[in-house]
Every structure is written in C-alpha cells, then in structure tokens.
C-alpha cells in the first residue's frame, strides 16, 4: 500500500489558486495523496492565508479571517443540536464548499480528503461566529464563562457528532483528523488561562465520581491567586516550586479534577472514533497530537499515553515541527520557568543575608536542561536553539517512541514542518531541512508524513524538497 503523504490545507488556497492548479502543485511537487482540509476553523494558522510573511504562491494579501464553516452544512444532520455550524462570514469564501468543490476533483486524481479540525488550548480563539456557542463554553473556578468548549457539555458534543456525521456521510469525506490541543485546568492556568471547567455538567459528573466540587474549586482558586501573587512579584519564603507543590498537596481534589477532565477529553475522542466507525468502518480515524504533548510538557506527556490511542485510532499524527520547535520551546521554557522555578535570590535579599552571595534563580538554561532530561531531548543550548531549531534526531526518536508504543495497530504519520511560522527570531525552514526531516521521520519508523502546517504557508521549494525526498526513499 502506498504511504500516506498528507498535507494540511485551508479553503483559501483553493479559492486563491484554483482547485486544479493547487492539486497539480501538491501532487507534482510534494507527491501528496491525502488532503487534510480545514473544513471548520477559527484559526488563521490552520485555515487562513499565511500570518507571517507570504510564500511564493497564493494571494499576497492578508485576509480578514473570521473563521467558521468552510462547507455548506446540511440542516438535516443537526436535529439534536442547538448549535448549528455557520458558514464563515468572510467575503473571500462566497459559496465555496471545501468538500463539494474539492472531493470530486481529488478523487479523480486518486487523492483522499479528510477534514481536519484542531482544538485550541487558548482563550484567544473563540467560536464567535456560531450563535449560542457561548452556552457550550467552559466555566472557570470563579464562576465566569470562559472561552473553550466544555467536553462534558452536551451542546458541544452533539454539535460535533452532528458535524462529523455531516462530513462523513453527507460530504463523503474519507475519514477524520482530529487535532488534540486542549489542556486541563492545571496546565491551562500555568499558561495564564482560566482554571476550567466548573460548568454544571462537570460538577454533576464530579459528584457522580465522589469528588468534592467545592474543595476542588477552592484548590484551583488558590492556585490562580498564587499565580497572581507571583506575577505581582511576591516571593514565597519556601520558594516558588515548593509553594505551588504545597497547594497541590493540600488540595488533592485538584488531581481528581485533572483526571476527570482528562478522562472526559479522552472519552470524547473515543466517542468520535466510535462515531466514525459507526458511519463507515472503512473511514479512517486519526488524531493529531499537539507538540506540547509529544515534546514540550512533561505533564502533558504523562497525561497522554501513545499506547492508549492504539485502542481507537487508525493513524496518529504526532506533531514534530523541528525547526519552529527551537523558538517555540525556548519561549515555552521562558514562560514556565518563572512560575515554577523562580526561586531564591530575592528571598535572600528580603532577609538581608549580606555575607552570602545572592542565590541565583534557576536560570532559563537550567530549566531548559531539566526539561531536556525529563523529556529525553538532546538539543541545542538556549542561546542557539531559536536559530538552530531541533535536530533530526528529535524527529527520529519521537517517531520511534510513538511507533514503539502503538506497535503495528496504528500507523504513524508525523507532522513534519515544511512551512510553519515559528515567530520572530526563529529559523526559516529550508529545503535541506525538509529533506532531513522527512528522512528522519522514516528512519524512526513512520508509515507516511503529513506536510505541515498549512499549504498557504509553505514555500514551493520546500514542498518540492519533501516530494524529492519521498521519491528518493521510494515511498511514492
């Protein structure tokens, strides 16, 4: 069987460049045989034009991206859903339907088409174009409506079940790629997000599980208040790490809530997998796994075990964007390090220990090295990391880790970066980088690749480099 060579692509590329031309480019240069289309998205990175510079194709103009549905939903599928997907209001899209207008052409070329939907861990992306979506939003520990949808809210769940049925049955997509990028309350609050979710559905579920809702809420609130004090410059006598651990040990209900959230999240994914197979056992169910899970966060890596995905996935796309990982991981470390490991020096000043040299906080470099060890990474020092990115060993090892965990039951198609905006200060991805990444993915045991992040961001020479490498490897 031919390897899967997928690419993520938004509707805007087909509109800007034409369906036939786009598919020509993808097939001829990149050897692409599977399209992961952003049929529903509020994320410019996944569905819009490039947000950081333009590649050498497409329209060189920033789009007024709002997001929403990029196909024409069939109302018949939404009988049990209060939420109805609304077509994106952005004028560029007109009556374009990413399934209706792409699938027939793609099929003629032997290409598969699957919708790709990616969750969001951030509050910044909200389903504002969907009437009533706010009623499916999480509620934080302080009782405030937050931004992300709650996995236990039936409005949200039914909405997605309806959409997926619409996509697979009505639109005849070949499967589903679901991007796992949400995070639990504790991890979220470390990122400055609200501590969620305490909606009535989560509270009822907790009560069924025997979890003390009030204690859990109090624990999260204590953590949020601790975060606020730390951000305001307060230095706990016992140090930041111990100070936070103290709260966690005092409120074990936080651990119960974390597990409940995680089980709900994973439970939703299992439901999705079951739904896909209910519709048609031959339809493919894939999960894209956020790089913070696969690579950056020991906490998230501990929560999400590759092994478990083998129970309900046909394929996995672990995100291993190695070039942007350099700037992203360095930012990640700089963001987290102050709260967890910002211990010491100022406390010494507070108690006027004059004859002792001031203690130094755990430096960014020390925090980076700690994370490298815990995550089994062997990458560049902090000052070189943004410019160098991660190594090809990283891809090889991570793919091998995934393959070892899932065995033969699940295919691994790593998300290889051939054009991902990492941000200012990061390295640009060059054809040689792409070639090395693709080779490393196969060295690690991959059964295919997903060229990422989005065609609208990708330079054609990088696409060509990916295709050339696949041909050299005899994979296409």
């Amino acid at each position: 069987m031919e390897d899967v060579v997928g690419i993520q692509i938004g509707a805007i590329s087909f509109i800007d460049e034409g369906v036939e031309k786009t598919l020509d480019v993808l097939q001829e240069k990149g050897g692409v045989n599977t399209l992961f289309v952003s049929a529903l998205s509020w994320s410019r990175g996944n569905a819009g034009r490039s947000c950081v510079g333009f590649p050498d194709h497409g329209v060189q103009e920033i789009d007024k991206f709002t997001g929403g549905a990029f196909w024409n939903p069939d109302p018949a599928f939404y009988g049990n859903s209060v939420l109805r997907p609304a077509k994106t209001p952005d004028p560029e899209y007109g009556n374009f339907d990413i399934f209706r207008d792409v699938i027939p052409t793609a099929r003629k070329r032997g290409m598969k088409v699957m919708p790709y939907y990616c969750e969001t861990p951030r509050s910044t992306i909200r389903h504002t174009s969907i009437p009533n979506a706010v009623q499916a939003a999480e509620i934080d520990a302080f009782g405030r409506t937050a931004a992300r949808p709650c996995n236990n809210n039936p409005l949200f769940r039914n909405w997605f079940f309806s959409m997926i049925e619409d996509w697979l049955k009505n639109c005849d997509a070949d499967g589903l790629l679901w991007g796992i990028e949400q995070q639990s309350g504790l991890k979220g609050l470390l990122c400055g997000e609200p501590a969620t979710c305490f909606c009535p559905f989560c509270c009822a579920k907790a009560e069924q599980l025997g979890i003390d809702v009030d204690r859990a809420r109090e624990g999260y609130k204590t953590l949020v208040n601790y975060r606020s004090r730390v951000n305001a410059g307060e230095h706990p006598i016992e140090g930041y790490f111990v100070g936070m651990l103290h709260i966690l040990l005092e409120y074990p209900e936080i651990f119960s809530w974390e597990k409940m959230w995680l089980d709900s999240h994973r439970g939703f994914h299992r439901d999705l997998a079951g739904l896909v197979k209910f519709i048609d056992p031959d339809k493919q169910m894939g999960f894209s796994i956020w790089q913070e899970i696969t690579t950056f966060s020991p906490y998230l890596r501990a929560q999400y075990d590759y092994d478990e995905f083998a129970e309900y996935s046909d394929f996995l796309k672990p995100i291993v964007y190695r070039i942007p990982a350099g700037i992203r991981f360095s930012r990640y470390i700089k963001y987290f390090q102050p709260l967890l490991f910002h211990g010491g020096a100022d406390e010494q000043k507070d108690i006027e220990m004059e004859e002792v040299a001031p203690l130094k906080d755990m430096s960014h470099e020390e925090a980076l090295n700690l994370f490298y060890r815990l995550l089994k990474l062997n990458e560049a020092p902090l000052d070189k990391l943004p410019a160098e990115g991660f190594s090809t060993d990283y891809i090889r090892n991570e793919v091998a880790r995934a393959c070892a965990a899932v065995g033969d039951k699940v295919k691994i198609y790593p998300g290889v970066d051939i054009g991902v905006a990492g941000g200012a200060g990061g390295k640009d991805t060059k054809p040689a980088d792409v070639q090395a990444s693709v080779r490393a993915a196969y060295d690690g045991g991959a059964s295919g690749v997903v060229l990422s992040r989005c065609y609208a961001e990708i330079m054609l020479e990088n696409l060509q480099a990916a295709g050339d490498t696949l041909r050299e490897l005899g994979r296409i």
Partner: protein, 461 residues
C-alpha cells in the same frame, strides 16, 4: 551559663549520666557550652539519640568507649496508672546498663538545683528499623498496600495514640519537667517508596478514615502498588520509553487517590502532634511543647517541605527546633539526592539532581562531588533559621539544632571552627537560642568548648 533570655539546650541520652555521672555531665555541659536546658531521650530505640556512639562512628573523648548494644525503650519508670487505656504497657528499656536509673526522676533534681531546664525528647523514625521490641507493638503497626504488617506505628491507630498520650501524661505528671520535645521525622508513603520502603498504611483504621472522606481505598492501594512496582523496575535498570519521570507522573495522574491518601496520612501526622500539644497544655499550661523538624523536611526534600507548612507550627508549638546539621548535611544531602536519582529523577545525572534540588530548595551550597567533604556552609544555618523565623511571624522561638556531635562517616569531620560558625549563623538568622545536637555522647569536648566560645563572643553567656 547562658543568659536568662538565651536558650542553650543540649540533647543527651541517659547513658551519659550512667557512664559519667550526673555531676560530671552537668559540669561539662554548663562550663564548656553554657547549657541551660537538657533534652533527655527518655524514650528511644535509636542509638543515635539515646545510646553510646556506634563503634563505626568512633567514640568521643569522654564517656565509656565500649559498644552498648542498645535495645531501648523507656529510660524512665512508667507508672502503670497511666496506661490503663492501652495494651502497650511493657516498654521499659530492658538494657542492663540502665537498671536502677531513672532518666527523668534521677536527673530532674540535679538539673533544677543548677537552674537547668529539663525536657523529655522523643524522636519519630522514618525508617523501617529499629523495630520497636515492645509486646503487642505489631498490633499498632502499619499495614502496607500488599496487606502485610509493616514496622512503624499507624498514626490513625487509636491504641498508638492512647499509648503516646499515656506516656506524655505520665512524664508530665510523674516528673518535674519543663517540657517535651517531639521530633517530627516521618514521611508519607510516596517518599518512603522512593527510599526503598513499602507503601503504608492500609490498616482498618486508615481504610475507615478513607471511607469517611470518600476516598476509594482500593484505587489508592492499586495506585501505590503500581507505583511501587514501577520503582522496582526502575531500580532494576529498566528505563521506560517515555522517560522515568513522565512514566511515574503518569501513574500519579492516573490514580489521584494516591494524592488523597498522601494528604490523609499527612493530616493524620499533623493531627497527632497537634493533639500532643493539647495534651501537654491540658496537664500543665506552663509545660512547654516543642517540635523538632527533620532536616529532610526543612532542607532536603521539596515534597516534604511542601507538605509541612512552617507558618502553622506557631499555633501549637512553644518552640521549634529545626535540624540544621550543616556539616553532616553535605553527605546526607548527596545520599538523599542519590535516592531520588536512583528512582524518580533517574532521567538526570546525580550532579543534575543535586543542582535541581538545590535550586528548588533555595540552597547555595557546593556541588555533588564536593559536598561530602565540604558539608553545607554556615550561611545555610543562617538562612534556614531566618526562613523559619519569618514563616512563623517571629511568634515562636526558634532553637536551631546545631550539628556539633553527629556521626558523619564518610563525610567531613566537624571542627571547632565549624561549630562556632554555625552557632553565630543561627543567631544572625534570628534564633532565640540553640540546640546542641545530636547527642552529648557523640560530641567531642573541644566542640562543646567551641559552642561556649561562640556564645561568649556573642555575649550570650
């Protein structure tokens, strides 16, 4: 002797009074170190706290240089009247060396004649050994997650509590004492497991308490066993695909009941010494209740440091003695780090583990390869004292335990200069006094003299 507003305590085992005589011991500690309080190990099964030094540690330049083969128990004469609500009644030390000597009854008159305060000192043990050889003791012992009797007493066992309350009542009512020092040196199951011990306690009393709190005992037990087996595999050299730390964390996150059990154990531990504080005040509001704080809690272990909030000690302690043995700390800290490095922090090198622990515990000491030979700095004593004073809002006197005579085989020998520096650092950190530690029988006389010299230089004597 120490000035009235200064506190100079010394820990001392009964054996020293027997070996050297009351007069000589009091003369020595008063003249050389200016001690004005003694903490007698009136109940102990620990050689380090109560006996002569182990021969492997070397003998001090006083006392009897001969192994005592300590068994231990009560070195006072328990009054049966106070033990009617407990089946633990036969716990007098059986050692022949102590026959005819009452550690509290015989010492109190001499102490008070000299205006030296007398305290009884008992220290818990975090370790499996020594096993308490008291008849019926196994009936109060913990039960591990596999269902086996373990060795330490269960904190929720009502008979352990009754026995301890009886001992306190007996000591306070039967003897003319100034107070009791309780040494906090136990740890919850997760930390015991990292030390190679079994996860405890799952006795009927703990299970009942868990049921009242709505904790699923079977899930907790399953989680601990899973974590225990994981640690065993790691010790045997198995490196999980996802890394040791991540895999261990995954078990904890998958079994939040473990964290509930940890808190239940920790709450039980704290409630015991809160109740003991009340027991002391019930007997005599003037009788002082002090808490000794294990060095693994105050210095080495971030998990234990997070479990014990020093600020709350001010509510029920008349004084606090943090163990700050700075020279032995070098070797001990590295040994502690090795236990973590051999298990949950195996992803790191030993050096990296030590550096990580130093950072999160706010320690500014030497590296792993130098620490045994350098020990901790005197500045450590100053900083830790100041931290504790600040944590308790300055409301409770802090008497840091100064490591003057502490076995440190394989580590640096404590010198008079070390002792002097530590004493001065303690006062600079805000101490209201000091505790000369660990045990008089281990302490070289020149070190006692050094403590006295430092106190004189500070104008504290």
């Amino acid at each position: 002797m120490a000035k009235e507003d200064n506190f100079v305590g010394i820990q001392i085992g009964t054996i020293s009074f027997i070996d050297e005589g009351l007069t000589k011991v009091f003369d020595t500690i008063q003249e050389k170190a200016g001690a004005n309080a003694i903490f007698v190990s009136a109940l102990s099964w620990s050689r380090g706290n109560a006996g002569r030094p182990d021969p492997s540690w070397g003998y001090a330049d006083h006392g009897v240089a001969k192994e005592d083969h300590l068994i231990g128990g009560a070195f006072f004469n328990p009054n049966p009247e106070y033990y009617k609500n407990t089946f633990l009644r036969e716990f007098k030390a059986p050692d022949k060396l102590y026959e005819g000597f009452d550690a509290l009854g015989d010492v109190a008159p001499e102490a008070h004649k000299r205006d030296v305060k007398l305290y009884a000192y008992y220290c818990e043990t975090a370790h499996k050994e020594p096993r308490v050889p008291v008849i019926n003791f196994p009936q109060i012992a913990e039960v591990d997650a596999y269902g086996r009797k373990a060795t330490r007493p269960c904190l929720l066992n009502p008979d352990y509590r009754s026995w301890t309350f009886s001992i306190f009542e007996d000591m306070i009512r039967s003897y003319d004492m100034d107070g009791i020092l309780w040494g906090i040196e136990r740890q919850s199951a997760l930390m015991n497991m990292i030390d190679g011990d079994v996860p405890t306690c799952f006795c009927e009393h703990c299970r009942t308490a868990a049921a009242r709190k709505g904790i699923d005992a079977e899930r907790a037990r399953e989680g601990y066993i899973k974590f225990d087996k994981f640690l065993q595999r790691v010790r045997a050299g198995e490196i999980p695909n996802d890394g040791v730390f991540v895999t261990g964390l995954r078990i904890i996150l998958d079994y939040p009941e473990i964290m509930h059990w940890e808190k239940m154990w920790n709450d039980a531990h704290k409630s015991l010494y809160r109740e003991l504080s009340g027991v002391v005040k019930f007997m005599d509001p003037k009788c002082e209740f002090g808490l000794g704080m294990w060095q693994e809690i105050n210095t080495f272990n971030p998990y234990l440091r997070a479990q014990y909030d020093f600020s709350e000690l001010a509510r029920y302690a008349d004084f606090v003695k943090p163990v700050l043995y700075h020279i032995p700390a070098g070797l001990r800290f590295v040994n502690f780090a090795k236990r973590w490095n051999n298990t949950i922090m195996k992803d790191l090198s030993l050096d990296e583990t030590v550096e990580f622990l130093k950072r999160v515990m706010q320690l500014n000491e030497a590296g792993a390869d130098e620490l045994p030979e350098t020990g901790f700095s005197a500045g450590y004593v100053q900083r830790q004292t100041a931290n504790l004073v600040n944590s308790m809002g300055g409301n409770v006197p802090v008497y840091p335990g100064i490591g003057v005579g502490v076995a440190n085989v394989g580590g640096k020998k404590i010198t008079p200069d070390d002792a002097k520096a530590a004493v001065k650092a303690a006062y600079e950190g805000g101490a209201k006094g000091i505790m000369i530690s660990r045990n008089y029988s281990e302490t070289q006389l020149d070190l006692l003299e050094a403590v006295g010299d430092a106190l004189r230089e500070l104008g504290k004597l």
